[in-house]
């Protein structure tokens, strides 16, 4: 069955340290992959997307993600966390049949 797994429900990092939010998807034909961010009491905003071009994708606010087909992963990273990055992050996968699968989300906490 098609699925997407966000391995951590909560991640805490100190301000200024790197961020890693993990996402794995079930193997299929090449999927399209997206990361969305949801700040408290706000709607979801697209951070970045992978659609079979470059495997390293750069997004807004300094985030990037690397598509690794051999590992079926699309982990989200940022070199240096900022307090404003505290939010919920969702990994989303769409497959050739256009089915959209949301991960359960990872809440990122930034420690001062």
């Amino acid at each position: 069955a098609q699925s997407v797994t966000q391995l951590d429900s909560h991640v805490s990092v100190s301000e200024g340290t790197p961020v890693l939010l993990r996402c794995n998807y079930s193997s299929s034909y090449s999927p399209s992959l997206f990361w969305y961010v949801q700040h408290p009491n706000k709607g979801l905003q697209l951070l970045l997307k992978y659609t079979s071009a470059a495997t390293l994708v750069k997004g807004i606010n300094g985030f990037e993600a690397e598509f690794k087909k051999s590992e079926t992963s699309f982990h989200l990273t940022k070199p240096s966390a900022h307090m404003s990055d505290a939010a919920e992050y969702f990994c989303v996968v769409t497959y050739r049949d256009d089915k959209i699968i949301f991960g359960k989300g990872t809440r990122l906490h930034i420690l001062p």
Binding site: G43, Q45, L46, V92, T94, F102, G103, G105
Partner: protein
Amino acid sequence: GAGVSQSPSNKVTEKGKDVELRCDPISGHTALYWYRQRLGQGLEFLIYFQGNSAPDKSGLPSDRFSAERTGESVSTLTIQRTQQEDSAVYLCASRKQEGQTYEQYFGPGTRLTVT
């Protein structure tokens, strides 16, 4: 340009009443989705409209839930005889067209509280 808008932003209703939530998608977007997000939870798919095709209603949790869309414009989600477990944020998203590479654009949501 204008994004996806939803109204009302907040709705408090008594148990047993009907409510209607509205979504205005981005102009020209053929696909429209409704999701439910309970407090501290992820997104739960409810229903999907694509052009003139029959909607995908596979996510509607009960027959108290229904949704309509007029052409490629406004959609309304109706919840009849509301229950306390219906309390959640209801999110609408639109998408330019069908196709796995197209991202969804989300509205700010309607926060529904059933007392």
